[in-house]
Amino acid sequence: MNAWRACGGCGLVVTILVGSLVAGCASQMTTGAFTQTRRIESDLKQGVSTKMDVQRVLGTPTGSGGAVFPLDSRPREVWYYDDIEVTNLSSEAESEAGLYRVKVRQQILLVFFEKGVFDGFMWWSNAGEAKGE
């Protein structure tokens, strides 16, 4: 007991250290890098493929909604896929103190449906590995 008391703030420090070893969690939300983009045009047919066909090729969408485009009054349902993830974080200590370089992979894919049937898609990516042919 005396040793503990003599240590003073040691108990708090030990608690924090042990606690940080025993616990500590983190997680992130991302769909992961798109890996099936090449299959959109090969496996999906405009005006034919269903939502379930799209789900089989691309997986579960991150979000969904609806849209009406200018000069085309047909309403379309939209499935939204995204993948935004920090892939590398590095510091450039020798040049400018406190400067960090962050590489971010950003991919956005919109899939359009008209009356529940695949009607087209639009996508954007800054990842060199993902190609739509």
Binding site: W4, G9, V14, C25
Partner: protein, 187 residues
């Protein structure tokens, strides 16, 4: 100075060994694993008519190269969890269909986590869509990400149960949806 006095006061209170042990155990029990959920409800469960579901095999979309059958592991775990929850009867021809995607998986390492919390996390991300056949209407979408990114050697084997943690969360979301409870907590 006031802040310093308060900090030292807290330190002196925790010098009692039993309190110290309690504090450590509390931290260990309260943390260790994180699960994040996203529920998107398009339509409520039709009342009284669909209490049977067909579960399609999970699709592995992770690109995992570790030589494990993630598809099989996740599908088995998902079916077990749904059956254990007694929410739905699992049949081969039910009008409600559950599709499942494995979106993220990392085996991680308990040794790395012990050396440095946050290093070598074990992660699993799964999503489930509820479809109504034959119209192929999407009724709801559930997503869960579970992660063990800290902890000592007692987290060995986290890669074996991480799918179970994620699907427990999916089943919880399924139950709330089936009971008409919205993500905001109101029926």
């Amino acid at each position: 100075m006031e802040l310093r006095r308060k900090t030292m006061g807290v330190a002196n209170q925790i010098t009692e060994p039993r309190l110290l042990l309690l504090a450590v155990l509390s931290v260990g029990l309260l943390a260790g694993c994180v699960t994040q959920s996203i529920t998107q409800t398009q339509e409520p469960l039709p009342a009284g008519e669909h209490r049977a579901v067909r579960i399609e095999p999970c699709e592995d979309r992770t690109g995992f190269q570790g030589g494990r059958d993630l598809r099989g592991e996740a599908t088995r775990t998902f079916i077990e969890k749904v059956k254990a929850a007694k929410l739905f009867e699992v049949t081969a021809d039910a009008p409600l269909v559950l599709t499942c995607d494995i979106e993220r998986f990392a085996e991680g390492s308990a040794l790395k986590r012990w050396v440095l919390p946050g290093w070598g996390p074990t992660q699993a991300g799964v999503s489930v869509m509820v479809w109504k056949k034959p119209e192929e209407t999407v009724l709801a979408t559930f997503r869960s990400q579970s992660s063990v990114s800290g902890g000592g050697l007692y987290t060995i084997g986290a890669d074996q149960y991480i799918f179970g943690v994620a699907f427990d969360d999916i089943v919880r979301q399924l139950r709330e949806w089936a009971q008409g409870i919205t993500p905001e907590g109101k029926p």
